[in-house]
C-alpha cells in the first residue's frame, strides 16, 4: 500500500515538474514575445547582438554544414534513385527525393546540428551566468537580460535554422536535378512541374513554420534550462544534460506533429 502511495506520489511529482517546466518555458516565450512588440527593443544595440548571434550560429559553420548537407543529400538521392529504378518507380523518384530530403530530413538534421552546437553552448553559458551571479549583477543594475542576452539568441536561432535548412534544401534540389537529369537543361520542365506540384502554399508555410519552431526549440529550451540551474557549479553539467534532453524531445515532437498534419 505504501509502495502504491509512493509511486503515485512520485508520478505526481513528475507531472508537476513537467508542468512547471512547460509553464516556465511558455511564460518566458510570452515575455520575449511582448518585448518584441515594444519599439524600444528595436534599436541598433539589439540588432548588433542579433547579428553576432547569427554569425556564431549560422555563418561560422556554414561551410561545414553545407558540406555535410551535400554528402547526406547525395547519399539519400542515390539510394532513392537506385531503389526506384529497381522497382520500376522512376517516375516517383524525384518527388520522393524532394519530399524526403527538403521537407523532412534536412530541416530535422539542421535543427539537430544547431542544437548540438549552439543549443548546448547557450545552455552552458546561461547556466554559468546564473551560477556566477552575473544575472544578479544585471538585476542590481536594473538591466533586464532578456533584451541583450536571450531575445537575440532566440531570434538568431530561428533565423539560422530557417536559413540553413533553406540553403540545404536548395542544395538538395540542385543535387536531385543533377542526379536525375545530369548536366543538361532537358529535365528542367518536368523537374519544375514536380516542384510546382509539391510546393504549394500550405507546404511552404508549413516548412517555414516548422523550421522556425525548430529554431525556437533549440534556443528557448536551453535558455530556460540554464535559468533553472541552482547556484552550484556542479549543477551546470546536469542543467545542460536536462536541457539537451528536452531539446531532443521537442525536435522529435515537432517533426512528428508536422508529419501528422501533413499526411493524416
Amino acid at each position: 500500500m505504501n509502495f502504491l502511495a509512493a509511486s503515485i506520489e512520485s508520478l505526481g511529482a513528475k507531472v508537476v515538474g513537467w508542468f512547471t517546466v512547460g509553464y516556465g518555458m511558455f511564460a518566458f516565450l510570452a515575455q520575449a514575445g511582448l518585448l518584441l512588440l515594444e519599439p524600444a527593443t528595436w534599436n541598433r544595440a539589439t540588432f548588433d547582438v542579433v547579428v553576432k548571434q547569427i554569425y556564431f550560429t549560422a555563418v561560422q559553420i556554414l561551410h561545414v554544414f553545407l558540406g555535410y548537407a551535400l554528402v547526406i543529400s547525395w547519399l539519400i538521392i542515390t539510394i532513392i534513385l537506385s531503389t526506384a529504378r529497381d522497382f520500376g518507380l522512376t517516375e516517383f523518384a524525384s518527388e520522393m527525393t524532394i519530399r524526403v530530403l527538403v521537407l523532412e530530413l534536412l530541416p530535422f538534421l539542421t535543427a539537430l546540428f544547431v542544437a548540438l552546437r549552439s543549443g548546448s553552448a547557450i545552455n552552458t553559458e546561461v547556466a554559468l551566468m546564473q551560477v556566477n551571479n552575473e544575472l544578479d549583477a544585471l538585476a542590481h543594475c536594473k538591466v533586464p537580460p532578456m533584451q541583450f542576452e536571450f531575445l537575440p539568441r532566440l531570434i538568431g536561432g530561428v533565423v539560422s535554422v530557417v536559413t540553413l535548412a533553406g540553403l540545404a534544401g536548395l542544395l538538395a534540389l540542385l543535387m536531385g536535378y543533377l542526379a536525375i537529369y545530369g548536366m543538361n537543361v532537358a529535365g528542367f520542365e518536368p523537374y519544375t512541374r514536380t516542384i510546382a506540384k509539391i510546393f504549394d502554399f500550405r507546404i511552404m508555410a508549413g516548412l517555414i513554420a516548422k523550421c522556425a519552431l525548430f529554431g525556437l526549440a533549440v534556443t528557448l529550451i536551453p535558455v530556460t534550462a540554464g535559468l533553472e540551474t541552482p547556484k552550484k557549479l556542479f549543477m551546470v553539467p546536469v542543467s545542460v544534460l536536462r536541457g539537451m534532453m528536452r531539446v531532443f524531445f521537442a525536435i522529435v515532437a515537432i517533426e512528428v506533429v508536422s508529419l501528422a498534419l501533413k499526411y493524416i
Partner: protein, 135 residues
C-alpha cells in the same frame, strides 16, 4: 552581511557577488547601463562608458574582458559600472575581497579623488580591518 545585500534600490553596490558579464569587455559592461536603462544610442553609450573609465584613469582596460583583468582593473570596471548608475549612495562591500593585490584604502581614496560624483561613498568592511583606514 545580510544588511548590505538588503540595501534599498537607490544604492549602487560594488561587491564580489556582483561580477561583470564575463563575455563582454569592460567598456561594454559599463555601456550596458545607459544603453538598456536609459535607451541611449550604442555610440553614445560607449562614449559615456569610455569617459567614465578615462575619468578614473583606466582608459586602457576598455577592451579587456573579466578574466584578462587584474583584481585592481576588475575593481575599477565594477566601480565605473556602479558610478554610471548615478545613484545617490555608493557602497563598496568588503573591498578586501576584491582588491587583494593593492593597499586598498589608499587605492580607493585615490579613485574617489578622480571620480566626480554627487552622492556619498560608503565602505563596508570587517572591523578588524579598521586599522588599515587610519592614515
Amino acid at each position: 552581511m545580510a544588511a548590505v545585500s538588503a540595501l534599498p534600490d537607490d544604492v549602487a553596490r560594488v561587491a564580489l557577488d556582483l561580477p561583470l558579464r564575463a563575455n563582454l569587455s569592460a567598456l561594454d559592461n559599463i555601456a550596458l547601463i545607459p544603453l538598456y536603462q536609459r535607451h541611449y544610442g550604442a555610440a553614445e553609450s560607449a562614449r559615456l562608458a569610455q569617459a567614465m573609465l578615462d575619468q578614473l584613469g583606466y582608459a586602457d582596460i576598455a577592451l579587456l574582458r573579466d578574466p584578462d583583468m587584474t583584481p585592481a582593473q576588475r575593481f575599477v570596471a565594477k566601480l565605473a559600472r556602479a558610478l554610471i548608475l548615478k545613484r545617490p549612495r555608493l557602497v563598496i562591500d568588503r573591498p578586501g575581497a576584491m582588491l587583494y593585490d593593492v593597499p586598498y584604502p589608499a587605492f580607493i581614496r585615490q579613485l574617489a579623488a578622480q571620480a566626480d560624483m554627487a552622492g556619498t561613498w560608503e565602505i563596508f568592511d570587517f572591523s578588524w580591518n579598521q586599522a588599515l583606514y587610519k592614515e
